[in-house]
């Protein structure tokens, strides 16, 4: 199915509506029913163009494409009210294109960051300057390593004995944290704010350090 309107037609049709909306909103006016209809018409007019551009990026799934549309609409509404965004009245086509691109740039950047993080945890991930895979730099068992492990075990035993001396509330926080439970999750389980969990955690770590230091002397 071939759509009849060109992007130029869409821009011309929307620009006039955008000017009307901004004339009211940027001078302290309200969004009348007529202006709400204008905003609605602009959104419907740009909808398929925005989705068309988002679909150029195969790494975005359907939910990602919907998110691009949602963020574009939200940004459009913010900028319609912003006195400093006069350029959208005269360059509406460039404005929509740039807005969609900015949102895509942010989402794709975030996705890439997350992929990089998970890739860096893989055994075949390249680590260090030499480009060696992680599994190649894992050390073999040696007497020195066994001695280190023994010292580490001793330290763990002392640490757990020190934890056992803590009040139950503090003990729960530190045990959950050592199990790798995020502070936000601990906060939820204990019905406290994450900031409080961090405070408790910092205080407990300091207390444990004191206990272990006293034992050493």
């Amino acid at each position: 199915m071939k759509l009849q309107h060109s992007w130029y037609d869409v821009v011309v049709a929307c620009q006039e509506r955008v000017q009307r909306i901004r004339a009211s909103l940027t001078s302290g006016g309200t969004l009348t029913l007529e202006l709400q209809a204008d905003r609605e018409a602009v959104i419907l007019a740009i909808r398929n163009w925005v989705l068309g551009r988002a679909k150029h990026f195969p790494e975005l799934d359907e939910d990602g494409v919907s998110e691009v549309l949602l963020k574009t609409i939200q940004q459009l509404d913010r900028d319609l009210r912003s006195p400093g965004f006069g350029s959208m009245e005269s360059m509406f086509g460039s404005y929509v294109k740039t807005t969609v691109h900015r949102i895509l740039f942010e989402i794709l950047g975030k996705n890439k960051e997350q992929r990089t993080l998970s890739a860096s945890e893989r055994l075949d991930a390249q680590v260090g300057k030499g480009g060696l895979a992680r599994h190649e730099v894992i050390e073999d068992v040696t007497p020195e390593r066994l001695a280190d492990e023994y010292r580490e075990e001793q330290l763990h035993a002392r640490l757990h004995a020190a934890i056992a001396q803590l009040p139950p509330h503090d003990r729960e926080v530190i045990n959950l944290r050592l199990q790798g439970v995020p502070s936000i999750e601990i906060a939820r389980r204990m019905n406290l704010s994450p900031v409080n969990i961090t405070r408790i955690y910092n205080r407990v770590v300091e207390r444990l350090r004191q206990i272990l230091t006293v034992e050493e002397h």
Binding site: W7, Q36, L51, K97, H101
Partner: protein, 202 residues
């Protein structure tokens, strides 16, 4: 000014200069901008120029059109709520106003508690939240559907999204923003929860 608005506005300024016939390279333009934004601005301007104008509208399938309409209805609902003059509250505030814990509300919705907590933290793609959940939240929280739509789009509580670091050097990575379906799977639902929401999952 919103950070995103700054980048959009800067790109429009650059296009205006180019259209006015000024032969200004990206580096020459970027150097005049605040130092903290230069690297990102340059990368974005390059991205923006590379992809050019919007030249092809998407021809949507029935399912894609329904998804797009769902997004527009969500925003329309939120705007309707704002226009009513009632203050916008996020989900956490609406829940706390009913004196419900996350666990209790999750049980009432037959939803994994981790998923509801994640939704409150703003780490679920709002566009992927099923209509049925919006309607059920409205019912449980004694709010209108538009109040729930506004709540989903409202900023989450600031403490919930804090990135915390501990003294031992552990830095918690930012929780990824995922779709409802992915968040549901990640929250290890019970059989009962799975059955309750199966129709809304792909």
């Amino acid at each position: 000014m919103e950070e995103r608005s700054y980048f959009i506005e800067a790109a429009l300024r650059y296009e205006t200069l180019i259209e006015a016939g000024q032969m200004l390279g990206l580096d020459a333009f970027v150097i005049q901008e605040p130092e903290a934004t230069r690297a990102e601005l340059r990368a974005f301007l390059e991205f923006n120029l590379t992809h050019g104008e919007l030249d092809e509208p998407a021809v949507l399938t029935v399912d894609q059109a329904a998804r797009a309409d769902h997004v527009i209805a969500l925003v329309r609902g939120a705007w309707q709520h704002e226009l009513s003059g009632t203050p916008v509250q996020n989900l956490t505030q609406l829940r706390q106003a009913r004196q419900l814990t996350v666990g209790r509300l999750a049980r009432q919705l037959t939803l994994p508690v981790d998923l509801l907590a994640r939704l409150e933290r703003g780490k679920v793609l709002v566009a992927s939240v099923p209509n049925r959940l919006v309607e059920q939240l409205a019912q449980m929280l004694h709010a209108s559907t538009s109040a729930i739509q506004a709540a989903l789009l409202a900023p989450p509580p600031t403490t919930a999204t804090s990135r915390l670091s501990a003294v031992d050097g552990i830095v918690e990575g930012e929780e990824p923003l995922v779709s409802f379906a992915r968040a549901f799977a990640a929250s290890e639902p019970t059989d009962e929860e799975q059955a309750a929401w199966a129709a809304d999952l792909p």
